[in-house]
């Protein structure tokens, strides 16, 4: 029984997504890679209407022009409760898309969430930070967004990502104040890797983050 299907870079549009979603034999499908196609919100709706892929753990929909509307469809799907890794890179989902995503309370096993290059701003960071149901989250990629200092302050207040070990915040226009707040987080007790390149950070903030007593003592900071 098929467990992994990789169809990335294949010019698949909404109609193709519909055909794939109609397959009733892939009940063991665990990994579906559809990145770099033209799925669009319409195709996402078809994919989400399929309630046969109950074992899906790894879903990659990067670069498919989904927008917030596509994420709204995803948030309504009820069968993907085993999702562990979800990639939405480069879909311009914005703050509204993050709001829908943050509502996915069924994704209790989520371990990797990749939201880089998605025009996410302060509000999106706030929605993410306020989630309480992703306690298994280990990797969060928010690089190349517009989170800014205010967004970093919201992220710093998160209390639920107790297993977070990788946080990528490259190119987010975060300044020293934002990183000083991040350094005060007391809940990410396994943090091992932090990417802060392309922000406004000095050695002083780096030192503060290294001295956080809760974060992993082998924390690696890329700056």
């Amino acid at each position: 029984m098929l467990e992994t299907l990789i169809l990335s870079h294949n010019e698949i549009g909404p109609a193709g997504a519909k055909y794939l979603s109609q397959n009733s034999h892939w009940k063991n499908l665990k990994s579906l890679q559809l990145n770099n196609n033209n799925i669009l919100p319409k195709g996402t709706r078809y994919l989400c209407e399929s309630e046969k892929w109950l074992n899906l753990e790894d879903l990659n929909l990067a670069y498919n022009m989904l927008g917030a509307a596509g994420v709204e469809c995803i948030s309504k799907n009820k069968s993907w409760s085993n999702i562990q890794n979800f990639t939405l890179t480069g879909n311009d989902i914005g703050d509204e898309g993050v709001r829908f995503l943050a509502q996915c309370e069924r994704w209790k096993n989520l371990q990797g969430l990749f939201l880089d290059s998605n025009s996410i701003g302060v509000a999106g960071a706030k929605y993410l930070a306020e989630t309480t149901h992703w306690s298994k989250l280990q990797q969060l990629n928010l690089s190349k967004n517009r989170i800014g200092t205010e967004g970093a302050i919201y992220l710093a207040q998160n209390k639920s990502w107790i297993k977070l070990d990788t946080l990528l915040l490259e190119d987010n226009n975060i300044d020293q104040k934002g990183f000083m707040h991040l350094a005060t987080n007391k809940y990410w007790n396994g943090l091992k890797f932090l990417d802060v390149r392309g922000n406004n950070i000095t050695c002083s903030e780096i030192q503060c983050m290294r001295e956080n007593p809760i974060w992993g003592f082998q924390l690696m900071i890329l700056y």
Partner: protein, 234 residues
Amino acid sequence: MNDDPDSLPSEYTTTQRNDRARSEIVRRSKHVRHADWESAGDILHKFNHAIPKTIRFNTWHSGRCGLSDYWLRRQQTPNLELFIFKTRQLAHILRRIKLDRVRIICICLVTEIDSCNLDIQKLLKSLSHIPAKMLSYFRIDLCSILFTRGALKNLRNVEIQNLSVTRSLILKSSTDLFAKRHQLQSLNLSGNHLNSDEAKKIAHSICWPNLQSLDLSFNCIGDEGAKHFGQNAT
């Protein structure tokens, strides 16, 4: 750290000794010509008298080196992994291979006009004459259409568990070579300019009851191709 493996203290384990010996070979190989690889086997011999379970044999690095001769002489080794790139000395190497022990073959960058082409095809044909021969992994990457088609034809009677034919434009009129591989667990056909017609042929001719992983990335199967795979019952 002392780079000379001869000077390793006696408390070092066999694994540590092997690792150090391999590092030493790599280190020396960066500074010496191929002829000096003759001594590589001797270095390993000093550190490892045990029989390895698997030999990874890479013609890109080894050429006609003493290292490959050294390994291949060790007939007790159960698994052979062959990584075949262009090499003029391939026939010299292949003559020493115990075919029934080959489990993995990776072939890269070969065309039908390369001098090693016939040697490789001969090797594959010989494999197909071994009763119930099974390869755990067979990979062709960046080879020409004719070479690849010939290789798959020669392996028609060899069961393969994991098959990868990538960036070789193989699918044109060759779908029959993939059709009846009942032991196939994974198939990777990425980067072959596979269009919807070829996707259709594959989707409707396949009989892969054990297939767990299918990679068709970097093709152009489009909505029509997706339709045919969506209808497949594998």
